[in-house]
Symmetry: C2
Subunit: 393 residues, 2 copies
């Protein structure tokens, strides 16, 4: 068969696959220092604990775990998740749905709400994976301006009035890719705008527990009186991304629609991984584990910011209080895509910032991840990057 005989659906017309995931393949060479990706440190992945918990849950409830489960979730996990989400969101949560990683949360929300041409407002830059998801639902993606305190409310309201969005997608805490955190005041304002103008807020908050300095901020959802805010939670950064367990929390009518969508998406999330995460919650294993992760990542973030201080004048970068990423703006004449070729030749990798922008451009930007490197790799890799930038100026 000639491939041109295949007529794929039009939702793929503007989508060719994740640029980041293609970069991952190029940089998966031995000896590469990778500041690309958003992987947890290997030390942060609790393999022995997961093994012990797998044995425990399979001994106690193995037949139910291996049998078909409910789309609504593994019952014990739904119970513990309800309590966990209520603590996180600052009050009783009307409904929760376990999902196959928070990637699926976004897919189900788009499935529930987005017809082709519907408007989704997004931070610009934003998380590439979910931008691709929105494109596959043929959404009209409209960027909203941000500053160091996150989304600019004036621009958001103007775009709402102009475009009548179905949804705002935001990563309020230690945003991907910028590391920025939405201020308390703006969190309140966004919840109020959603209630006034009737649009869904998809609050994607996978990094909130990875805070190394400063005070935790309440979620946008905690200011939501009417149910317009849907919270997307993840255990990828605090237990394991490979287990693919996340959740959606919010209004019961919305959660019900997502549940019906999930029936024919993957029927249910694997019971075994749900049961293991349930044990982390039930045995209250997360606080200690998160403290260890944060101690490790704090020193790495400090080290990387320290190196950036010594970069040539004109290099600007964010100073996040947590999360996994630092956002770097090189002097305008530099091209981070071209620089990446030289960096890879020198065995250092990052993600060029242009991929995260709705309409590309911003070729002088890049994203750095620190969690998945050792302090030694950060020292070596950042020295190489500094020299490359200096030589390019």
């Amino acid at each position: 068969m000639q491939p041109e005989l295949l007529h794929f659906a039009h939702r793929f017309d503007a989508v060719s696959g994740s640029a980041i995931r293609e970069i991952f393949k190029v940089i998966a060479q031995p000896g590469m220092i990778s500041f690309a990706g958003g992987n947890p440190s290997l030390a942060a992945l609790p393999d022995q604990q997961v093994s012990d918990l797998a044995v425990k849950v399979l001994a106690e409830n193995g037949k139910a775990i291996l049998q078909y489960g409910a789309t609504e979730g593994y019952p014990a996990f739904v119970e513990s998740l309800h309590s966990y989400a209520s603590d996180m969101l600052g009050g009783p949560v009307p409904a929760v749905l376990p999902v196959t990683g928070s990637t699926q949360a976004m897919d189900l929300l788009c499935k529930a709400f987005i017809d082709p041409g519907d408007v989704i407002l997004v931070e610009n830059p934003s998380f590439l994976g979910n931008l691709q998801c929105m494109k596959l639902y043929q959404a009209n993606i409209i960027p909203v301006e941000s500053d160091d305190e996150g989304l600019l409310i004036s621009d958001l309201e103007q775009k709402v009035l102009e475009h009548h969005p179905k949804m705002l997608y935001t990563i309020p805490t230690f945003q991907n890719p910028t590391g920025r955190t939405l201020s308390l005041l703006r969190r309140k304002e966004i919840a109020a705008l959603a209630a006034r103008y009737h649009f869904i807020v998809a609050e994607d908050d996978p990094y909130r527990d990875l805070r190394y300095w400063g005070e935790s901020l309440p979620t946008i959802k905690s200011f939501d009186q009417e149910g317009w805010v849907v919270f997307l939670g993840s255990f990828s950064k605090i237990i394991s991304p490979g287990m693919r367990v996340g959740f959606i929390a919010g209004d019961p009518t919305i959660i019900r629609k997502c549940t019906v969508g999930k029936q024919s998406t993957d029927l249910h999330t694997a019971n075994l991984t749900q049961a293991i995460v349930d044990q982390f919650l039930r045995q209250n294993l997360l606080p200690d584990h998160i403290r260890q992760i944060c101690d490790d990542y704090r020193s790495k973030l400090s080290a990387m910011m320290g190196h950036l201080e010594s970069f040539p004048a004109g290099v600007r970068f964010t100073r996040p209080e947590g999360g996994l990423f630092i956002w770097v703006e090189l002097p305008e004449e530099l091209d981070a895509l071209k620089l990446l070729q030289q960096a890879i030749a020198g065995k250092v990798a990052y993600v060029p910032g242009t991929h995260f922008f709705v309409n590309g451009g911003h070729s002088n930007t890049l994203r750095l991840n620190f969690s998945n490197s050792t302090l030694e790799q950060i020292d070596t890799g950042m020295a190489i990057l500094r020299e490359l930038v200096a030589a390019a100026l």
Copy 2:
């Protein structure tokens, strides 16, 4: 918020949730004998084996299993799956993709190919879950006539010429819900029609290893020279449905499109469950396990067919050589939906056949499952059903 303020996507206009999964909730009462569902027998679920294998794979490769994986699949599993699928499909398979249960295989195929209004041809009746999936992609679902040897080729060709379908969806072996098996000759003819008229055949074959009598038939895919047939495989019936591991096998261009779709659907299938299924393949544990399952299910199917022989005259039923289901046609004046209320009151459940038909109707039909009941439950439950039917005539 008033729920009517929520504007859900139009793909839900004709979808309200799986009728079967709602029935499941009603019948989840203690003491109920359930011939509904398509659950494996609890005895068939290898909980101890899965526990041992989980410990093994986490000890050997725990960090990689808990880290982000490739959308293309857990590498060891992709390797063993390739060899497994090649054996099953009667020759080298160009590409495979592990998925989160074969439910996701159908979702990704529809995502890859189906624009609203595109035609999918289906057996009638067919598997409810995948009919719902097609509806959520706003496909135009056109039924094709069948007889005891499966799809009628003359009707299929006529519908192809009339409707120019993007896809044919078929369950060729021990079909859900009828238990029918597509004959060898028709398998060849379908592969030839797909090549002539350029439509995708989604060959969904989760029951093929559950054969209790007779000779295994080659897949439609094995007669496919050009790549139009995509094979949907599942480990739900032969290892565990709760683990959610299935696969798609076929043309590399199609698999690539499904992979890009999967990037923003759930990023990847849980590595842990992929790694466990990989061990079943690598250690060649399936043949013995399947033999045990088949011995158990054979006696249950025999028993249920035996009871049906003694039902009142005018009751017809299929005599499958394998799978999980028997299809029953009551005399036309009986209504299986109404009868279900009485059956549930008598603590026996089944699924009314009308739910499986593209346009409803056929209210005198019903589907019986035997795998998830004991022989004693089959004796008791079938005696109750026989009396109900006799009394209704």
